[in-house]
Symmetry: C2
Subunit: 119 residues, 2 copies
């Protein structure tokens, strides 16, 4: 079973953490039934990345893509999240865990900027 | 003339600041010739928000939408950027300056997560 774990920094503000759950639900709806989509936070809030990976494995995930929900390829997205994910994945040698690129520069983001500008 | 000023936090890393310029260029291409699109940084890098607004006015902008390039509606996007933009706008009473919502939760972001997950 394919799975996506959407990971942001994590905040002390509950509403900010909840927003990632909303995005994960949107992703799940678009991805369709063949993909489990969950979210986790790098720090400051739960579920943590290891908790998220453990839960996905319990749900039957055999292939997990961790997607850093960060705009820029900074230290968190390119170093901290991959390191934590790799450590957590070592507990599940039968599961293929990889880390995707952060959101970066993409036409979909440019289109969203225009949506917000026109609201 | 309508204009968009895309504003992020600003970084000490040049590549991170340059990336916002790339997004602004994408936005400009999609927006078409009727809209000037420029970028600025809230702090740590130039152009600053006041410099960005001054430059747009010099280019003939009469209506400026400042779009916070932030995923979440945190303090920077909802308080700091609007305050700085408002102070900068007070120098140009003939120009209509408003601040848009940050990127927030949107289907376009969910679709981008899937793009990154599948790469």
């Amino acid at each position: 079973m394919r799975a996506i774990l959407l990971v942001d920094h994590g905040s002390r503000v509950d509403a900010a953490n909840a927003q990632l759950g909303d995005v994960a639900q949107l992703v799940a709806r678009i991805a369709g039934d063949g993909t489990i989509v969950r979210h986790a936070h790098m720090e400051l809030a739960t579920p943590s990345i290891p908790e998220g990976i453990d839960a996905l494995v319990r749900e039957g995930a055999t292939e997990i893509v961790v997607v850093p929900y960060f705009l820029a390829p900074g230290r968190h997205a390119t170093s901290d999240v991959p390191r934590i994910a790799s450590e957590a994945a070592s507990k599940h040698p039968a599961v293929n865990v990889r880390v995707a690129a952060p959101l970066g520069v993409h036409e979909l983001l440019a289109r969203l900027v225009l949506v917000r500008a026109r609201e």
